[in-house]
Amino acid sequence: MTNHWIDFKNADCILVMGSNPASNHPVAFKWIQKALENGAKLICVDPRFTQTAAKADIYAPLRSGTDIAFLGGMIKYIVDNNLYFEEYVRDYTNASFLVNPGFKMPGDNEGVFSGLTGTKTKEGFVSGTYDKASWSFQMNADGTVKNDPTMQDPNCVLQLLGKHFSRYTPEKVEQITGTPKDKLLEIYKTYGATGKAGKAGTELYAMGWTQHTVGVQNIRSMAIIQLLLGNMGIAGGGVNAMRGESNVQGSTDHGLLFHILPGYLQTPAAALPTLAAYNEKNTPQTKELQSANWWANKPKYMASLLRAFYDQGLPLEDAYALMPKIDDGVNYSWLTIFDKMYKGQFSGFFAWGQNPACSGANANKVRQSLTKLKWMVNVNLFANETGDFWQGPGMKPEEIDTEVFMLPCAASMEKEGSISNSGRWMQWRYKAVDSPGEAMPDGEIISALYHEVRRLYETEGGAYPDPILKLTWNYGKHFDSHAVAKEINGYFLEDREIKGVLYKKGTLVPSFAFLQDDGSTSSGNWLYCNSYTEDGNKAARRGTEDPSGIGLFPDWAWAWPVNRRIIYNRASVDKNGAPWAPNKPVIQWNATKKAWSGDVPDGGWPPLADTEKGMKPFIMKTAGVAHIFGPGLVDGPFPEHYEPLECPIDKNLMSPQMVNPAVKRWETDGVPELDLRASCDPRFPFVCSTYRVSEHWQTGVMTRWTPWLLEMQPEMFVEMSHELAQLKEIQNGERVTVTSARGEVEAVAIVTLRIKPLTIDGGTIHQVGIPWHYGWRYPDPKFKELRSANLLTPNIGDPNTMIPESKAFMVNVVKKEVKR
């Protein structure tokens, strides 16, 4: 998140949409509670009346998958009623930038942006890819962007934004989302009030927004709103992703996804054979005045990363050559992995601390894919549906050739290391107990694997041993979390003098400002450079002082980057460095001392008013200002409402384009018998969403085996309205079957007042919801019941991230005929 958990208490208005913190981040709710005690308003928008809604001042229902319509209506309301923070918008965003006149928007371009080349699908809409050439700005001769500070020019971003969202009238939004108009306006007004200087609004989201074919654009909508209202960089503001796992922030930071290296550096592409080419392609340049363009430092970070892998014995270009490259135009994400696995293109698979047989969308396809493997290694605490896939429901073990190895691993309290939370805080954890039996920490397993693979390469050779054999591995025979943490921070590999100070070889680098592009420094992750220095392991600090009063707690653990707690905090002050909110300042410029006080400033330069040395606040953007117009995404510079791939209505009320045109379709190159879909199909008339409960976690591999948790939520259930239950003659507590085009699950019906049918375009639409914590493996494995929600979800993903659309798909619910 841009802010952090404790910061929620500083908000005047908290919008919870696309998440349910009371249920799923209960400890964090303490800070939301503190905000409420100080008079803040809590707004909850959700298809269901959740535990968060139970604490909210305003609750509004919503059809799953229509968040952009809802938020688009809010953008229109803010623009029409002049609720936006004008000075902030003009100086800190690209609202004043002039866009190329060739740029076309969905309102007068058949529902798509300009530059789309694609084909019409059998459902009748276009699917393809965008050429983003027209999504560009008009340039001055000196290479800077043309802009209109009055923001009146019809081609300026703000005017185009207004024009684009003028179609999102409250009436239209009500028709699409099902949210009553008076509730829409109440929410727009309440939240829009945070546009005043000194007022802060924060938004909390999670998988409710990301797991859609328009997932990234959902978040973009909110980012635009937050920028319009001046809520970025301030206390109690921000766009705050509540991560679904305690260390998934750490996993993305350290590059566990295919498209990024640690520190969000791009994975080298095959088309970039040298480091020079890589740096040329990936390092942004700018001519804009007062723009720090921090990514211009990328070559330093890439070089230091390469040095963390391969020390100075290898020239940088040679080190780059050893790095694996991704082929052009190929997607290596989760959905693709299992598609290719099904087609027999994988011989082996490490299911490391995961349970794809339950967590993968279209889990039947995943389970079938696993049967094609020659071997699998299941690293986990407990037996699960993945490791035991071969004896799962419907499987014939005698026909499966996969050899499965189970490596029991340590739980989090049985090993030492760090966890990075949603607030970017890296917090060190100690080992409390020994693991039972043969279980080992993951790091120990990886270390053992490395040493053995290395030995095999040395003794037997292989196709390409160099990337392994030339690795620098200074951690010893056994995994040492401190050694790795220090490597991540980075070292000086030779004596260096910087700004008059001599740093000797072997010294830990103080921060990423000291990293070099010539291979004289190493850093396993530039973002974490500053976390473990000569001053010690900062992640292990436990100081409880908070001089700021806004909950920064600078001496508790360590946050990236460089212990900055609220990022983009230069946007929390005006041109002269005076905070918009004097009672909750994040940073403040002291003109006499010529220094900032408060949080670590997002760049220590003087305020913007200093035309010589001052810098604009959004330093990670090339122009130094935030993107209201966002040309960096593959599916549009502005968010546009599209229906989910499986939806209950046969047309998109906003435009002729039904579904996000940039979504990857699997019809032509997928697995036809498994990649099934059914939209506006009378067999599957109800909108279904997936979610969590407090008592279980992920696919329940740990929590189903914990009796005190299983006792509270023992079984798979499906929540539905009284109206739907009556329609299908289902009683509360009765067993039912939920089916989609891809599979079926058995569940107990919870008939509740907290879900109501919605009126969508004049017709009644029913929604149901299911948790995804259950699987056949435990409890009662002998029944081999179908309990995993992902047996129903579609393997169709957001075009930017490929996150599956698990939050909106179509199902049917029927009474179960046969009792167990």
Binding site: P26, A54, P707, W708, E711, V748, A749, L753
Partner: protein, 266 residues
């Protein structure tokens, strides 16, 4: 700490059930094998293995949707009915405020279960030598200067702990400061003479909506004592009356016999 109390602020409870698990963990209580009956509430009832739980109630009132989460468990009354009627004195109200149970003298008569106005004590129906089970106020933790397990586990501060006076003052302070948020009544301040566990509810929700019984301020043991206090005088009066009537009867019979004798003689 003497005379301590719980303050349970239901406006802050999100139904996360950390308290339910913390109680099980601290008291090493086994989990029950449950099924989903169409609610998040599980187990559905208190039992010898479940000493506190969160009740889930959903209802619509005046057009507003409510989903309430209510912690139930022993109220640790100031003048407990169970303590007053246990024939062997197995239940005691302690200085700390806890109502504790001594399994070393309990005869398993279950009178305490009948007496409790909150239906709290549970029984080990499956054991050959069954005992009564209920929330212990984490009496053992208090002895070590620790707060009760549920208090420590609650993430939102819905459960707080302190002296009874402090908790009463705190509750009324909250009611006054945020009158739009709270039901103005502090449940347990006066009911049945006061309970050590006191509850605040959201404003437009009645305590009876949540299953809290409507009780008068009169401590229940006073009903019993109003009768038992006459026992000593009852013993004296009845014995004396019977002795008197016996003496009268004996005198009448003597007189009759004497008359008969006189007749006989005559």
């Amino acid at each position: 700490m003497k005379n301590s109390s719980f303050l349970i602020d239901l406006t802050k409870c999100t139904g996360c059930r950390s308290c339910q698990v913390a109680c099980k963990q601290w008291n090493e209580l086994p989990a029950e094998r449950t099924v989903n009956t169409g609610s998040y509430q599980n187990p559905l009832l208190l039992s010898s293995q479940t000493w506190t739980l969160i009740k889930f109630d959903e209802f619509e009132k005046q057009g507003k949707m409510h989903w309430l989460f209510t912690k139930i468990g022993c109220m640790h009354c100031e003048q407990p009915a169970c303590v007053s009627i246990c024939p062997v004195g197995a239940l005691q109200k302690t200085e700390s405020g806890a109502v504790i149970y001594n399994k070393n003298v309990c005869i398993g008569c279950r009178y305490c279960m009948i007496a409790c106005p909150f239906h709290i004590p549970t029984f080990e129906w499956k054991k050959a030598f069954p005992f009564i089970k209920k929330c212990t106020f984490c009496f053992d933790r208090l002895a070590e200067g620790q707060k009760p397990a549920c208090v420590c586990a609650c993430p939102t501060g819905a459960i707080t702990f302190g002296t009874r006076n402090d908790m009463i003052n705190k509750a009324h302070g909250l009611i006054n400061k945020r009158s739009n948020t709270y039901n103005p009544h502090l449940y347990g301040e006066k009911e049945v003479g006061g309970t050590a566990v006191m509850v605040l509810a959201p404003r437009d929700v009645a305590f009876s909506d949540l299953g809290f019984p409507k009780l008068s301020e009169r401590p229940l043991p006073t009903w019993t004592w109003n009768a038992l206090k006459f026992v000593p005088s009852q013993i004296v009066l009845v014995s004396a009356a019977m002795a008197f009537f016996y003496w009268l009867t004996k005198r009448k019979m003597k007189k009759k016999d004497a008359d008969k004798e006189v007749q006989h003689d005559a």
